[in-house]
């Protein structure tokens, strides 16, 4: 049970002078239940990559296996794949359209052909999972705050009961608390349900804090793949491709340069505080 990408290539504008390779020989294996962060500068191929995973884009060459089945096989039910791999786009609140939040969340499961009872149970469950309070269920989605709207939109995807949830920059434009709330809820969802989660992000601090594994994309290829600690030791290389390390990593380097014996591979505030305390001999 996992997602496997086997030598996946994607070129758009094939056969035209504008032909561009957006993914180049990508090989990845994502086991069940992992929380994966995908980082890369604008145009590095992150969004193209995740759109392959639920069949929105079809690879020019290479194979993708979902739970051992080749998704490009003629017999494979790609429509079903879309409900098994839920994709939450950037600014998903722009896709809310129903008159109230509950009806909006029901839209997905209803389209899966589920009966009314199952649809409503799933919608209710999904709204609870994203932490939206009951009193908002029958409000117009347009009367909610930015963070609430976004959670309603995520609930719409969760109501399809996907096995894999992909979020493309779920916190863009949210205030710090809204950001922490959404990421906290995603983490809780992941630990409680064991769902595989892929988080596309521009925030190095967020991926350092939340994910188990980071995939760094650059020019359509996988540049690094490892734990946050491993990835951010390459901060110079990351800078050269438009990324960075979490700020706390730079702070630790500064401390180290000034003679404090700290472990510069710490990537979160908690880890950094631990190593500074140790360096101070406390």
């Amino acid at each position: 049970m996992s997602i496997i990408l086997d030598h996946v290539n994607y070129r758009y504008g094939e056969g035209t002078p504008l032909e561009t390779a957006a993914l180049k020989d990508v090989c990845l294996q994502i086991p069940d239940g992992q929380f994966v962060g995908i980082i890369g500068h604008t145009g590095s191929g992150k969004s193209t990559l995740v759109q392959h995973l639920n069949g929105l884009l079809k690879a020019s060459s290479g194979r993708i296996y979902f739970n051992g089945e080749d998704i490009y096989d003629k017999e494979y039910d790609r429509k079903k794949l879309r409900s098994r791999v839920g994709l939450v786009f950037q600014y998903p609140e722009h896709q809310l359209f129903e008159t109230d939040v509950f009806t909006d969340v029901c839209f997905g499961p209803k389209n899966l052909g589920l009966d009314r009872r199952e649809t409503e149970l799933r919608a209710y469950d999904a709204l609870r999972k994203v932490g939206l309070p009951d009193e908002l269920f029958y409000q117009s989605p347009f009367d909610l705050s930015g963070g609430q709207k976004r959670r309603a939109a995520i609930a719409g995807v969760l109501a399809m009961k996907p096995e894999v949830l992909i979020l493309d920059e779920p916190t863009a434009g949210l205030d710090p608390r809204g950001r922490d709330e959404i990421l906290g809820q995603i983490r809780e969802l992941q630990t409680k349900t064991g769902m595989t989660i892929l988080l596309v992000s521009h925030s190095m601090e967020d991926v350092a804090e939340y994910v188990d594994r980071i995939i760094v994309m650059n020019r359509g290829s996988v540049m690094y793949d490892g734990t946050p600690r491993e990835i951010f030791t390459h901060y110079r290389e990351l800078e050269s491709v438009g990324l960075a390390a979490p700020q706390v990593t730079y702070i630790l380097h500064e401390l180290k340069d000034r003679g404090l014996d700290v472990d510069v591979s710490a990537t979160t505030i908690g880890e950094a505080a631990d190593t500074v305390m140790r360096a101070l001999g406390r």
């Binding site: 608390r177 601090e205 630790l252 505030i269 908690g270």
Partner: protein, 287 residues
């Protein structure tokens, strides 16, 4: 009076249901007063829905106050006759660069504003050149905007505003959609405008690291200015900021965490360098 001044500004809007019946009145801005001096760098932060964007829209007369007055370079924004002068004095840059760029070529896009002002062609080109140079995008002048990165596009948007020769530039979350290098580029360009060109800058953002170089920070909450001060004064109140749904730079957060664990450190540490200064002294003091 400074370049932008607000006096007892209130902005209310009426909420209506689908049939158009009045449901209630929301006070988005609630008695706000400020006075921004020419050349100042002011940052406005606040949670989603705190009123910061609504406030920014008052500065170039996209919105007009329900009560009170906003003056831009001495012009009352409620005075329709000065509308174009106000917009030219206070230029605005928004979140999404793709919604702000219209030209097929970078230099055409930047020239669009001054062209609409009826500036002679020769001067338009001079303005385009100086604006693109100011944001470090001159070498891209012949490029197509849709081939640029997010940070580059946003710098072209800023150049487009600069070409109008504003005295003040208001940026509403200009980096929200950008990757780390894009954010760095845009913030560097904005600081350059402020420090080198002496441009008045009003920056709205959710990224606390972007405001540590501001002269003054306003923290908005429920339509009011809840806190005001230098970045150091503001960030020394970590718990208060958390209550207001905000954050502090990671250096400040790390210092706060160390203090909780018993390390004695000064308040208001903003950068890694300041933290290093404080800690290295400590290590030596211990001997």
């Amino acid at each position: 009076m400074g370049i932008v001044k607000a006096s007892d500004v209130v902005y209310e809007y009426i909420r209506r249901d689908e049939e158009g019946n009045v449901e209630g009145i929301t006070t988005a801005i609630d008695r706000v007063n400020f006075d921004i001096a020419p050349g100042e760098f002011v940052a406005i932060v606040g949670h989603n829905g705190s009123g910061k964007s609504t406030l920014a829209k008052h500065i170039n007369a996209i919105l007009n106050p329900t009560e009170g007055t906003v003056w831009v370079d001495g012009m009352d924004t409620g005075d329709e006759g000065s509308l174009w002068d106000i917009r030219q004095t206070a230029g605005m840059v928004f979140q999404n660069p793709d919604n702000q760029i219209i030209g097929q070529v970078v230099e055409e896009d930047v020239g669009f504003g001054p062209e609409n002002l009826g500036i002679p062609t020769k001067e338009i080109w001079e303005r385009v050149e100086e604006s693109l140079r100011a944001v470090g995008m001159y070498e891209y002048r012949k490029h197509s905007p849709n081939r640029l990165s997010g940070g580059q596009k946003q710098r072209v948007s800023i150049a487009g505003v600069l070409a109008m020769h504003p005295r003040c530039i208001v940026l509403d979350e200009p980096t929200a959609m950008l990757d780390p290098s894009g954010r760095r580029e845009v913030i560097r360009a904005v600081r350059g405008l402020n420090q080198v060109e002496g441009m008045t800058v009003i920056l709205i953002t959710h990224y606390m690291e972007e405001i540590i170089h501001a002269d003054r920070v306003f923290v908005m909450d429920q339509g009011k200015i809840a806190m005001e001060g230098t970045p150091r004064e503001i960030f020394s109140q970590v718990e208060r900021l958390k209550e207001l749904r905000l954050d502090v730079p990671q250096a400040t957060l790390l210092a706060h965490e160390l203090k909780k664990r018993g390390v004695v450190l000064p308040d208001g540490i903003l950068t890694g360098q300041e933290l290093a200064d404080a800690l290295v002294g400590k290590k030596r003091g211990q001997g």
